[in-house]
Symmetry: C2
Subunit: 320 residues, 2 copies
């Protein structure tokens, strides 16, 4: 298990460190990238040799963070994982550093404690929120660039202050970052007001397939593997579709079927409070949380739907 | 013109007032309703006789604000318009009070000054943000119910802290409202994670009609009056569609055509910075702002599109 550090100890270790390598998680999101970028700029400002690495490419929309990626030009002597809850999330080739991480800075309560030492705040909405507190304690001057990086982490991990992890502290940090020069018009535009053509095309197909059952209490969308392949939609965009059916007024159980390359159906079930998604999926060999669960069903689309609807009916009856 | 009041004067007038009627604007949104509701609860807490009125029905999703609507049971002696920028926005029957408004509390810089007196802050992201400052000066205790009402105004007028009107102050007020007990999980769910069946149906039809021009720099969606009528979509939901084409990656000019009951086409043009939407529309007899403008075109859908595309081509050439 990791040694749990307080802010003061983290600061003293960072100030002593040289040749620092910052690790992001694979399939990088705004928080792992924004947090690593912010820390990169702060450490660079302190005259350190520092770089960031990630197993997947950083999406071009994050170019404004001006991250210095690791190019092998120095031998890492102090390794910091940022927003990485477990070693399985490093991916290759970053996993080569998994057993020699000196410090992990994270906000996931599930963090396995793989690093030698850890700065963890499970209450923080984002790792960027925790980093803001660290920088405040370090008396670092937050430049507009650093503010942009931290705002990116904060805003993306909270769905722009919409998700349940958002707290008063989250908004207070957002206020400070705007005062420090975060360009929230530009950032919100890049992060939230933009959809790919393939995402819109898969949305159109999904809406096309939309069916209501049980007087509108259940909505199902279904996508065949041909449709998914034809649009060329990215995995993250496809994942986003699964929240669509539950958003509809009156819908208590929202179901998305996505046919896999193998032909089977990957099923995502989202429910309102009072209807147990995990139970619906458990009867079909899957599982998950009370409001979000999943399973995989073989056979035809019609059979998959019939099996699901019978479980949904049971769950709705139990509830009312 | 209205007498411009400071917070202290507004407080003294509200404390002296009796039989207070609060006016919302027609097609009520979260800010006019949330602000009127918050003021209603504060004044009620001070022992006042007070009620709210609006020319249109308050949508059921706002029921959690527990607003006391005006039922004629008292004769209004002090009339306050909340978030109403001009008398044309009262609608009937509320416009009967238009020439005897004692106080207008608003954040629209364009407010015409129709009321006897005015508390105006054109920098505030929402009237709810301004009201928070008023309540703070009044030393009012913000109950969770009042916090919910103000949060509703703040969050809806900023697209959940996403729009350009959001400031550090907006986030600071949001933080205070959460500390005061605003139930942001419930509210964000109601306000942002819910879509009507008719809204989804009109989105499907809009995506169906989506066309790209000029190498994807211009996207057009078009809706006939039959399609609009058939879905029974509410005006606000229909309005929401106009932001869709501009959201697409690579699109610099997003255009929405909605056929009116009379047969003409209402055109909404949204552009990225650098392309002048107002100029595109000006050539077609319309106008507006640089990034959001509109016009009305008679004739067939094909002619309307051709006229628009010729203006868009001119605007894109001018820019590049």
């Amino acid at each position: 298990m990791s040694e749990i550090l307080d802010l003061v100890t983290v600061i003293s270790r960072l100030l002593k460190a040289e040749n620092i390598l910052l690790l992001c998680h694979k399939n990088p999101d705004g928080d792992t990238i924004g947090s690593a970028a912010a820390l990169y700029h702060v450490l660079k400002g302190l005259g350190k040799t520092v770089a960031v690495t990630c197993s997947d490419e950083i999406p071009a929309r994050y170019d404004y963070m001006e991250i210095g990626m690791y190019d092998g030009s120095f031998e890492p002597r102090y390794i910091v994982a940022v927003d990485v809850a477990g070693i399985q999330l490093f991916g290759d080739p970053v996993s080569q550093y998994a057993d020699r991480v000196d410090l992990c800075i994270d906000h996931h309560p599930s963090n396995g404690g793989y690093a030698d030492a850890m700065l963890l705040d499970g209450e923080a909405a984002a790792t960027a929120e925790l980093l803001y507190s660290l920088f405040e304690s370090m008396d670092v001057s937050i430049t507009p660039l650093i503010a942009n990086c931290l705002y990116t982490g904060l805003a993306t991990d909270t769905g722009c202050f919409k998700f349940a992890n958002t707290t008063a502290k989250t908004h207070l940090v957002a206020a400070r970052l705007i005062e420090a020069g975060a360009d929230l018009v530009k950032l919100n535009n890049i992060l939230f007001e933009s959809k790919s053509r393939s995402r819109l095309e898969i949305e159109r197909i999904a809406l096309e397939s939309l069916e209501y059952h049980f007087d509108g209490a259940c909505a199902i969308i279904s996508l065949t593997k041909e449709q998914i392949e034809r649009t060329g939609v990215e995995p993250l965009d496809l994942e986003g579709i699964t929240s669509l059916p539950r958003m509809i007024e009156g819908v208590r159980v929202g179901i998305t079927l996505r046919q896999q390359p193998t032909g089977s159906y990957k099923v995502s079930v989202r429910t309102e409070v009072g209807v147990d998604a995990a139970q619906i999926c458990a009867h079909l060999g899957g599982g998950g949380h009370k409001q979000a669960a999943g399973c995989e069903i073989l056979g035809s689309m019609e059979n998959a739907k019939a099996a699901l609807l019978s479980e949904v009916e049971r769950a709705l009856c139990k509830e009312s």
